[in-house]
Amino acid sequence: MTVTLADADRDLLGGAHGEAAAFAMRLMVRFAEAVGAPGFIDAKAAHIDGCLYHGQVSLDFVEHLLALGGRVRVPTTLNVGSIDLIHPELFRGDGGLLTAGSRLMVAHEELGCVPTYTCAPYQTIFRPQLGWQIAWAESNAIVFANSVIGARTNRYGDFTDLCCAITGRVPNYGLHLTENRRARVVVEITDLPPEWSDAGPACVAVGHVIGRRCGERIPAIVGLPAATTEDDLKALGAVSASAGAVAMFHAVGLTPEAATLDDALQGEEPEEVIRLSVDDLRETVRNLSTVPDGTPLSAVSLGTPHFSTTEFARLVPLLAGPRPAVDVYVNTSRQVMQELEERGWDAPLRAAGVTVVLDTCTYVTTIMRDLSGAVMTNSGKMAYYAPGNLNVDVAFGSLADCVASARAGRVVRS
């Protein structure tokens, strides 16, 4: 596969925008060859997940770009890092990681990236718009941008996201092209379990199923409740991208490229139709917990992906009443935290003993104080990753069940 280069690409390769841009463009040309992209288009924005420390290679790559005089050419947001830079005392890992992880985050700021440090950049002022061509990393952000907003990005990852930001160019393949955004699989929900009072668990169950069963194929989901919120779709996308390689879904009647099922399918027939019964949904949710009801808890962890202002608006009233018996952590962004303070919501959170974690997240780094018992979450993504990352048992439940369980000190359900 040969890649056709525009004048802008040749300028970049020739060093017209500096040595770092030339290095980044060389890597992107090889990447474009590897993925079969015919050429490049302008990127309007980038979101970088390379600021999470995975070892020496993370730092070596960014320091190499800085040494070459690198600077991002488009507005570029940052995903979570390893450290809460606002509350570094929360970090419980080793000092070497604290130093290297902090340096990695600051080195990205030196490249001109905005210190958003959130996995939900779509719920900040940097939210992209319908039709924008962007270079985004972080699997949950990718699926949200494509599905809920209708911005266009492939699954960029560490290194390529930053190379796109440094060059301002993105390879024109995959989900940047309309024809590749067509649904291939239809997922039909007939009914929801009547005991589920909000759309949260249903969306997590559907997300888990499409992750397991759709692979990289784009599903069109039919039958989600009309009351499904943006935050429910965020949870759906996050677990689908954890359990599978889903980069985009359509929710018919809810997402912008799926006003009708026919729109989502772009007029073609689906390859497969998956029907989910009430029992399928119940069983999927049950299997997200590794422990039975009644198990003692060490902590409740919320905000994976980062909690939005509207999610806090649901949480704060639930906290009125007896103080939780176990630690409650909520991960969110600096921008949402500022909004909380402006609304005076930080006081009830503090009164309830809630630890608000910024810049990072409770399953990518060592923050939770006590991991001797199980951890409960309303996040399918957390339930998926925490057993492997943190070596803990998890219980999954709705937001209300998480708060009730935090008070009881054990897993309880309404």
Partner: protein
Amino acid sequence: MTGSAAMPIAAITLVSGKADGPAFVLKEPLSFWGGLDAATGEITDRWHPQSGAILADRILVMESGRGSSSGSSVLAEAIRRGTGPTGIVMLTRDAIVTVGAMVAVELYGVSCPVVLAAAGDWPRLVAAERLTLEAGSEGAVIGFG
């Protein structure tokens, strides 16, 4: 059929290099992030059927990639430390795997070739005990044994 079973097959180069070693066939796609410990090369995804297996010095045979985009860094770090696979054979193109291997060779000069095999050759690849990879800019050859 023993003669044809030992015949090398052609593949597409995603990342150049040479490698040989015992084959390790992933039964399900693996997310390197959250699923591979770069310090040890162990599969740590508890949901994965091969959880606990070690990928070091193996030729990894995997249909497709999966999961978090942070997988590129974990793979590159594992290659840098020598705990990662020595080569990777895939059935579908995967940007996360390709880039991880590409960065390891750019920054450290340690190569982990990545090649794309044809669907018709897949049954032989998943049955192989040992594989050799020779991946150059013109194309790749996968040998058995």
